[in-house]
C-alpha cells in the first residue's frame, strides 16, 4: 500500500493546483488548461512563463509573482504539458510585448512547445524561448537530446522575470535569460526513490547503503552508484563535477542547495556549510545562497547543487526584488 495524501490519483494535479491557488489568492488558474497566472497584468511588459511536468513543486507555479514569472503551465506527473495548454498561457500573459517561455531540455517539452509557438505566432503573438540544460551529469551533445534542465532553471526564471520587470523588450529579456542559462550548472544526487501517484512501487531502488550520483529530477538513472558519503565528500563530488564544466574560480556566483523533496532542511544546511568551505578554497564569492526545496522530485531524498556565474548584469537582476510563493526578495 502506497501512503500518500490524495484522493483519486488521476485528479492529483488538478487538486494540487486548486489548493495552490486557494493558498495564493493573487494568482488565478484556468482549470481546463492547468494554467496558473498572475491576476494583475502590466500592459507592455514582456510576459515570462515556464512549463513542465508536475511533481516538482514548488516548480513551476511557485515562481509566479512580480519580478518572476507571469504564468506557469502544469503537465501530468513528470510529463510536458500539451500545446493547447501552453497556448492558453501565452494568450493570457501577452500584453502586446510578446512572451518568453523558459523550457527545460526534454524532448517532450520542446516538441509540445514547438507546436504552441506556431499556434501563437499564427495569432500574431511574438514568442521566444530559452532552453535550460544545466545538469552536468549528462554529457552535452547536439546530436542526442543532451543535457537535462534541472534546478538551475529557477535562476533563469529569476533573471528573465527581473529583466522583463525592468521594461526590457522581448529580445533583451531573451538575451539575459540565455546568458543565465549559459552560466548555470547543476549536479544532483539521490538517496531514495519516489513513487508516482497511481503506481504501486518506485521506479528504481537503491540499496540501504547506496546513493546515486547524477540522478535526474524524474528518477532517471544517474552516472554512478556509490556508498553513503559524508556531507563534505558530497559537496566535493558535486562541486568538482560542476567546476569541470565551467570555471568559477575568482568569480562571483549565486548558489542553490536544492532538496528533492524527501531530505530535511537540516541536511541541506549542513551541505551548504560543506560547500562554503570549498568555495573559500576556490576563491568563489557566493553573492547569494538559496537553501530549500526549489525543484523537487516528489518524495525523493537527495539534493542538487546549482551555481550561476555572475557578471554585473546577472548580479543586478538576481538581486532585484521579486515576490512569488517560492521565492521572495525585498
Amino acid at each position: 500500500m502506497v501512503k500518500k495524501i490524495m484522493n483519486e490519483p488521476q485528479n492529483i494535479v488538478d487538486e494540487m493546483l486548486e489548493g495552490f491557488v486557494f493558498a495564493h489568492p493573487e494568482l488565478q488558474w484556468f482549470r481546463e488548461h492547468r494554467v496558473v497566472s498572475l491576476k494583475e497584468k502590466k500592459k507592455g511588459k514582456v510576459g515570462v512563463m515556464s512549463v513542465g511536468g508536475s511533481g516538482h513543486e514548488p516548480a513551476h507555479a511557485g515562481y509566479i509573482g512580480k519580478g518572476m514569472l507571469d504564468a506557469a503551465v502544469a503537465g501530468n506527473l513528470f510529463a510536458s504539458p500539451s500545446p493547447d495548454q501552453m497556448l492558453k498561457a501565452i494568450e493570457d500573459i501577452d500584453t502586446g510585448a510578446g512572451v518568453l517561455v523558459v523550457l527545460k531540455n526534454y524532448s517532450g517539452d520542446l516538441m509540445n512547445f514547438s507546436i504552441a509557438k506556431e499556434l501563437a505566432e499564427a495569432q500574431g503573438i511574438s514568442v521566444e524561448s530559452v532552453v535550460v540544460k544545466d545538469d552536468v551529469a549528462v554529457p552535452d551533445s547536439t546530436y542526442s537530446t543532451g543535457r537535462r534542465g534541472i534546478a538551475g532553471t529557477v535562476f533563469v526564471h529569476k533573471i528573465a522575470g527581473a529583466r522583463a520587470a525592468e521594461g526590457a523588450d522581448l529580445t533583451q529579456v531573451k538575451r539575459s535569460a540565455q546568458k543565465a542559462a549559459d552560466n548555470v550548472r547543476s549536479m544532483g544526487m539521490s538517496m531514495s526513490a519516489c513513487i508516482l501517484p497511481g503506481l504501486d512501487k518506485p521506479g528504481f531502488s537503491l540499496g540501504e547503503d547506496e546513493i546515486e550520483i547524477g540522478m535526474g529530477i524524474h528518477g532517471e538513472p544517474g552516472i554512478q552508484k556509490s556508498g553513503v558519503k559524508t556531507a563534505d565528500e558530497l559537496a566535493e563530488i558535486l562541486l568538482e563535477k560542476i567546476m569541470e564544466d565551467l570555471d568559477y574560480r575568482s568569480c562571483e556566483a549565486a548558489l542553490m542547495i536544492n532538496g528533492l523533496g524527501g531530505t530535511p532542511l537540516m541536511e541541506l544546511y549542513v551541505l551548504a556549510a560543506s560547500v562554503k568551505k570549498l568555495l573559500v578554497q576556490k576563491e568563489i564569492c557566493a553573492c547569494r545562497v538559496y537553501v530549500g526545496n526549489y525543484m523537487t522530485s516528489l518524495e525523493m531524498a537527495g539534493c542538487s547543487l546549482s551555481m550561476l556565474k555572475l557578471d554585473d548584469e546577472l548580479k543586478r537582476l538576481l538581486q532585484a526584488p521579486c515576490a512569488s510563493p517560492a521565492m521572495t526578495l525585498q
Binding site: 488521476q10 511536468g53 503537465g75 501530468n76 506527473l77 513528470f78 510529463a79 510536458s80 504539458p81 500539451s82 500545446p83 493547447d84 495548454q85 526534454y106 524532448s107 517532450g108 516538441m111 509540445n112 507546436i115 551529469a137 549528462v138 546530436y143 542526442s144 537530446t145 537535462r148 508516482l196 497511481g198 503506481l199 518506485p202 521506479g203 528504481f204 535526474g216 524524474h218 528518477g219 532517471e220 538513472p221 552516472i223
Partner: protein, 224 residues
C-alpha cells in the same frame, strides 16, 4: 478485403485501451529501467480520455474522428507520447476526407503517414530507439505486402510481426532521443517502452481487423 468503419475504429480503440491497461506492470517496469516510469500512466490517461470522449463522437466524420483523437491524445497525455500520437493522427486525418471506411489500400497510406509524422515531429531516425522503430517497419512490411499483391490477412500479419520485431530490435540500440539517452550505456540491453506500446497497438489493430474480417466472412458464407 476489409472495411474498417468509424464505429469499428472506436471499438478498436477500446480494445487497445484494454491491452495497455492490462500491461501496467510490464510497461512501467520497462520505462522505469531507462526513463522516469510515467509512460504507462500517461498513455492510460490518454486512452481513458479517448474512451470517455468517444461517446460524443458518434455524429462526426471519419476525418473529424482522427482530428479529435489527435487533439485528445495531445491534450490529455502531454509529454512526448501525446505530441507524437497527436501528430500521427493529425497528419493522417486528411487521408480520410470523404471516406466512410478504411480499406486495405488506405490503411497502408495511414501507416506510412503515422511513421512519417512521428519521424518528422520527433526529429528521429530509424535506430534511435524510439517508437519509430516499431511503426516504421510495420508500415514498410504492410506496404511490401500490398505491392506483392498479398491478401489483406497476410498484409496485416506481416505488419504486426514487423511491429513486434521492430520493438524487440530496440533492445540492442543506443538511445539518441529522450530520457533513455541519459544513461551512460545509452540504455543498450533495454527495450524502448514507447516502441513496445506502439507495437502493442499495431498488433491489436491487426488482430482486430483479422477477427472482424473473419466475422464478416462467416456472415457472408451464411448468407450464401
Amino acid at each position: 478485403m476489409f472495411h474498417l468503419y468509424k464505429e469499428d475504429y472506436l471499438r478498436y480503440l477500446a480494445k487497445a485501451a484494454g491491452v495497455i491497461r492490462g500491461n501496467k506492470e510490464y510497461i512501467t517496469e520497462l520505462d522505469s529501467a531507462t526513463g522516469d516510469g510515467d509512460h504507462w500512466l500517461n498513455l492510460t490517461i490518454g486512452f481513458e480520455k479517448l474512451l470517455e470522449k468517444s461517446k460524443e463522437w458518434e455524429s462526426v466524420t471519419y476525418q473529424e474522428l482522427f482530428q479529435n483523437i489527435a487533439m485528445t491524445m495531445m491534450s490529455a497525455m502531454g509529454g512526448s507520447s501525446g505530441v507524437l500520437y497527436g501528430s500521427a493522427y493529425l497528419k493522417t486525418a486528411g487521408l480520410l476526407e470523404n471516406r466512410e471506411s478504411i480499406d486495405q489500400g488506405l490503411l497502408g497510406e495511414i501507416l506510412q503517414g503515422w511513421a512519417e509524422a512521428i519521424r518528422s515531429r520527433g526529429n528521429a531516425e530509424l535506430g534511435y530507439k524510439t517508437m519509430l522503430d516499431a511503426v516504421y517497419p510495420a508500415a514498410s512490411a504492410y506496404a511490401k505486402g500490398l505491392e506483392e499483391g498479398k491478401d489483406s490477412g497476410e498484409c496485416l500479419r506481416q505488419m504486426a510481426r514487423a511491429a513486434r520485431e521492430g520493438a524487440e530490435s530496440t533492445r540492442d540500440m543506443e538511445a539518441v532521443k529522450g530520457r533513455a539517452s541519459y544513461r551512460e550505456d545509452k540504455s543498450v540491453g533495454f527495450l524502448d517502452p514507447g516502441a513496445v506500446t506502439m507495437a502493442m497497438q499495431l498488433e491489436c489493430l491487426a488482430d482486430f481487423i483479422l477477427e472482424e474480417d473473419k466475422a464478416s466472412a462467416a456472415k457472408d458464407s451464411k448468407q450464401i
